[in-house]
């Protein structure tokens, strides 16, 4: 059996692009206003222990994905019931990300195009990528991350004339409460979503430890996220960042250097589409792996097309309008995702450790 493999570097890049996907453009922690950058730092700190849980699970069961782990730890029946949660969650997450893109195109970039169209094309692209396999996603991310970083860097240079340091003050005017709330949002929206990589990193071929891959991805994302959030606040100010739906786009659209370099917000739309594509592909891949493991299929590729279509259609019927989406993403989602992101992995890890220590579970060589 020719197993698909991704290298360490590709894994880190994939992880980083997955975390950047969609949330940076919606603005990290808009509720914290001018303290959003502090919230981003705190969110990263909050994510450190939970990332340790994921990496520990992966290093305990090397070469196995989350559905195998569930089967081993919980047994056949209970494992399949819990696996249902990990099929629904990536399906819903992928639909949310597709919907983000649809709303972005519908409200900002191409208002007269029907929303289903960009969503459908993103869905087709992801279906194609997932049929080609996780190797292709790894290679894609190796090309895409430099593009994203270069665009971010150039736009950062161009907005320097618009910086206003007065926007940063007052620091924590409303106390630490909103900042901690927003930090929790950041923790659950991009950072702890990496729970899905429990199913992807079974393909990781690495000599270095899995902890390093996870933490490098986290730190690269944290650097990009904190700097971009800081930049947003410096240019737009906390009040505007908390009001507009896509602050990065608004910010870059203000660039006008010598009446010549202007309207380069399309570059931001490009990065948005790239990172969304990676995120949707990862979600679709995990869903397909889950369904194929649940029903014991020969190959996950035979159901990719239908699952992808289901994701797109779910995205289409999910919300009535953009306010619904914003409300769900920033008010409800953090609590909704908590069982999938924190509670279940913690339970799995505790039971796995207990069963391995007491010798009930044989996982072969220890890493």
């Amino acid at each position: 059996m020719n197993k698909e493999m991704i290298t360490t570097k590709q894994g880190v890049y994939l992880l980083t692009l997955f975390m950047i996907g969609s949330n940076l453009f919606m603005g990290l922690a808009p509720a914290a206003k001018s303290d959003a950058w502090i919230a981003a730092l705190m969110g990263t700190l909050m994510a450190l222990p939970i990332i340790f849980i994921y990496a520990r699970l992966l290093s305990l069961f090397k070469g196995r994905d989350i559905f195998d782990i569930l089967n081993l730890v919980f047994g056949n029946v209970l494992g399949k019931i819990v696996a249902l949660a990990y099929i629904w969650y990536p399906l819903h997450l992928g639909a949310m990300v597709i919907r983000d893109l649809g709303e972005f195109f519908n409200t900002v970039a191409m208002p007269e195009t029907p929303m289903l169209l960009p969503m459908l094309f993103l869905g087709f692209l992801s279906i194609w990528a997932v049929i080609a396999g996780v190797e292709l996603l790894g290679r894609c991310s190796k090309i895409f991350l430099p593009i994203v970083v270069i665009i971010m860097f150039i736009t950062s240079l161009l907005v320097i004339p618009y910086w206003n340091f007065a926007h940063l003050k007052p620091v924590m005017y409303d106390g630490i409460g909103p900042v901690l709330n927003s930090a929790f949002d950041i923790f659950s929206f991009p950072l702890a979503e990496t729970v899905l990589f429990l199913a992807v990193f079974s393909a990781l071929k690495t000599e270095t430890s899995i902890y390093r891959v996870y933490y490098s991805g986290l730190f690269i994302f944290a650097a990009i996220g904190v700097l971009l959030t800081l930049r947003n606040i410096l240019v737009l100010g906390g009040d505007i960042v908390s009001v507009v739906n896509f602050p990065l786009y608004v910010e870059v659209s203000r660039i006008n250097i010598g009446e010549f370099i202007q309207r380069i917000e399309v570059s931001v739309a490009t990065t948005f589409v790239i990172t969304d594509f990676i995120k949707v592909s990862v979600c679709l891949y995990v869903t397909c792996i889950g369904i194929s493991k649940l029903f014991g299929l020969k190959n996950y590729r035979s159901i990719v097309v239908q699952t992808g279509l289901l994701m797109v259609l779910l995205a289409y019927i999910m919300y009535e309008n953009i306010m619904d989406m914003i409300y769900f993403a920033f008010e409800i989602y953090a609590y909704y995702a908590l069982p999938f992101q924190v509670i279940l992995p913690a339970i799995i890890l505790v039971i796995a450790e207990l069963r391995i220590r007491t010798g009930q579970l044989h996982i072969g060589k220890k890493y």
Partner: protein, 69 residues
């Protein structure tokens, strides 16, 4: 719109389902068939402008009732 949906599903079934049937992968065929029927039903209803209830609202109501917001 309805015709478009039906034609595209005919194409998808021809390209995606029939090969599985030929290869006699019955499990894959069954799961794929079920998913095809589900997505076809949703796509058909969307093309007829039927408002499909979103699965997100029960989740939202549940979480709001737990948190007491």
């Amino acid at each position: 719109m309805v015709v478009l949906v039906i034609f595209s599903y005919a194409l998808i079934i021809y390209l995606d389902l029939i090969p599985l049937y030929r290869k006699k992968l019955w499990r894959d065929f069954g799961v794929n068939m079920a998913l095809t029927l589900l997505t076809f039903a949703i796509a058909f209803l969307i093309s007829l402008d039927v408002a499909i209830p979103s699965p997100v609202y029960p989740i939202k109501n549940l979480i709001i009732s737990i948190l007491g917001k």
